[in-house]
Amino acid sequence: MFAITPNTLSTFLNSISKYIVLLMILLLGFSAILIILLENDYYQGVSFKILFIHVPAAWLSLLIFSTMGISSIIGLVFKSPTSFTISRAISPIGLIMSIIVLVTGSIWGNLTWGTYWVWDARLTSMLILSFIYLGHILLLYSFDHFQKADFAASILAIIGLVNLPIVKFSVDWWTTLHQGSTVFRVGGPSITSDYLITLLVSFFALFLLCIYWFSNIFYIIIENRKIERSKLLNQ
């Protein structure tokens, strides 16, 4: 990450892009078949099938934020342009994932809890996470020079890292309407293996979709900068 320039990363991502797309389509189809074939939950019935978008999207929104925070730290400490560009390219994807989490979660909540939205700790901290994503994107595009924007947005991303353990452990620390963790919990997953396999397959499909988006956004940012630089040099 210190020796890699944005250009080499962009070329590398472009070279593996078609394999990622192929694998992603395979996994998406596979997970769709698995989700359709799965038996309903004994208690929640068919509405539990929202889990297979809600949970992968939630994991990804946390994973993307931690990636963003860590690459912001590396970018600020080592002045690495690649790290800054990674967090710039990744944050819209995180915003989309957190919006998917909130919308599918409130549809699920309407079906099971009987309400679209409550202000409990998990839901509120997730909403704050999506606002931090939004603020990060707004900060990135509110400066004339992208280096200044990267600096400001990175500080926000690092401060926002505090929110991650709150989102993850809010269901353990406080009483919430939201149920506890199913997979990453003390004492092993409380979910049968066929559900767990489907969940992991759909997570990897969504993960590859994010990688695909990321490589394209990264390419767009790099190419735009190249054109700008070349224009400046020609003047």
Binding site: A3, Y43, L76, G114, A121
Partner: protein, 150 residues
């Protein structure tokens, strides 16, 4: 492998970031610790009985619906909420219940205490747990005699 030289500039920036992070995280920890009771979404019946000045206070109580207590009489739902310490409270609710409210399953009620041990709910929410399994898995566990649930 390329060894990164930690020169003074890098060290300084790293320490600067750590100070920012520690300041913010400790402030968040302090805020959430002092607001612990406000952040909690509901109280259990045993916590409810320890609270003072309950007159007309709007609050949420959560627990399991006691087995054999869910009844529908005179257009009013009546049930009892029980917690792990076997303390329970009677609840009355006059609107439609969410689909997933069942005996021995989680529930949260929002409303006021009318008198000793009677809670008038204005909103009822079903709280499901984090266990997911198909009916066939339950049947199989019951056959094998390892089913511990309800």
């Amino acid at each position: 492998m390329r060894i990164i030289k930690l020169n003074n500039q890098i060290k300084k920036r790293f320490i600067f970031l750590i100070i920012i992070f520690v300041c913010f995280s400790s402030s968040i920890v302090l805020i959430s610790y002092s607001l612990k009771d406000q952040i909690a979404y509901f109280v259990s019946p045993s916590e409810l009985y320890q609270m003072k000045d309950l007159d007309d206070r709007y609050l949420r109580v959560g627990g399991l619906v006691k087995e054999g207590s869910l009844k529908f009489e005179n257009n009013i739902w009546k049930f009892e909420i029980i917690d792990e310490e076997n303390k329970s409270i009677k609840v009355e609710f006059s609107k439609t219940l969410p689909n997933l409210v069942e005996e021995n399953k989680g529930i949260i009620v929002e409303g006021r205490i009318l008198k000793e041990n009677l809670f008038i709910a204005e909103i009822v929410l079903a709280k499901h747990d984090e266990n997911y399994m198909p009916q066939s898995a339950i049947d199989k566990m019951q056959e094998d005699g390892i089913w511990r649930g309800n």
